[in-house]
Symmetry: C2
Subunit: 228 residues, 2 copies
């Protein structure tokens, strides 16, 4: 039984990787930089994304894919900013797959975008294992979640190009040691950038936006990928 399951899972991943590869080629053709935002439910992914769009829409053109089990609440908020967005409802599935993304990009005008932000289903575990064809994964973890997350959920932190520590406006109300997070992430992944942000107060948003702009420029440079 166990061998059968592993066999099929392997096929599912192989098939996912093939579609991810096709997505990647499409993104390269259109010179669009693609980030896959992964974090727990309520980590602040949507709020960070909305603040990023508000801060950077004058500098570059965005498109967004929203992944949720149910509802279009997040996509509605993005659309209200006038940014092209496609909502995927996974109908209970715990992560986005490359096929979900392939379907979504078919509905978006990639030629009109510099950066595609994909907000994954709220889940710190499963999305980490699925390549969507993105240039990088960004882990989003909020201060109220606690500073033990990189040690307890290492998979995503080992694979992320950056970690956004969100809800820094709550810093004085929760026990959260940023140094511990930097240390634990550094052990898993020495090239990962850890940034502390608050979309509410604006703290750290400039550094986050600058990182995103640099990363996107590196992805979009012809024949070059980013350092990560």
């Amino acid at each position: 039984m166990k061998r059968t399951v592993i066999g099929v899972q392997q096929k599912v991943l192989d098939s996912n990787d093939q579609v991810a590869q096709a997505n990647r080629q499409l993104f390269a053709q259109h010179h669009v930089a693609v980030l896959n935002l992964i974090g727990s439910p309520g980590a602040g992914k949507t709020t960070l994304l909305l603040a990023t769009l508000s801060a950077m829409s004058a500098r570059m053109r965005f498109a967004v894919i929203e992944g949720d089990l149910a509802t279009t609440q997040d996509a509605d908020k993005v659309a209200a900013l006038g940014v092209p967005v496609y909502q995927i409802n996974t109908d209970g599935a715990c992560h986005l797959s490359a096929r979900h993304v392939a379907r979504a990009v078919g509905q978006l005008d990639l030629a009109a975008a510099d950066v595609l932000l994909i907000e994954n289903v709220g889940n710190l575990v499963c999305p980490a294992g699925f390549d969507l064809g993105e240039h990088a994964k960004v882990a989003v973890v909020s201060m109220p979640e606690g500073d033990d997350k990189p040690s307890k959920y290492p998979g995503i932190f080992a694979r992320a190009a950056a970690v956004a520590v969100t809800k820094a406006d709550l810093a004085s109300h929760v026990d959260f040691d940023v140094a511990r997070v930097r240390r634990d992430v550094g052990r898993l992944n020495s090239r990962c950038e850890v940034m502390v942000v608050s979309a509410r107060t604006g703290r750290g948003m400039q550094a986050w936006c600058d990182w995103l702009a640099r990363f996107a420029a590196a992805c979009r440079a012809p024949g070059q990928g980013p350092a990560h």
Copy 2:
């Protein structure tokens, strides 16, 4: 391909349900009430569990199973309270299975426990679909996560006997509408009890502990299950 995957998933669930049924019989034999705590990473499951043990250990005898991807941090905290605990490391798997629990209960003295608390892997999605043989699932959602969680992650809220809204000490620092949560949970599951708690200040802990004691007594009454 799709049919193959669904076929195998169905077998995995069938096999899980068989082991869950055996777990359930074992729990009944030992008159132990079993709760499965499910919530996002950082929702406050461990903190609620530790506060519950501290408040109730004089009234009833507990045992604990801790589920994590990695580390024994949570089990260490439970053991420090002198409560029997077994740590499961799922090695990357996103939920506990009935088999994990069967293995763990083999290492615990069920005859010496009135209540077994199982803390699932931090994940608001996948654990909802797996019966462990428990009497009830409890959904744990923290105020900083936001009041949209029942509508966006309906699976667990539709199945839970109770919802603990945690970190109520942060109520004045975050936007969280308890009435919205009650309304959205009520739509999914009219018999579900929604309780607002703060392990830090003690707010709501008496009501939570009273609910737990009533629920456990109903589970443990010979020939009777709880209302849920």
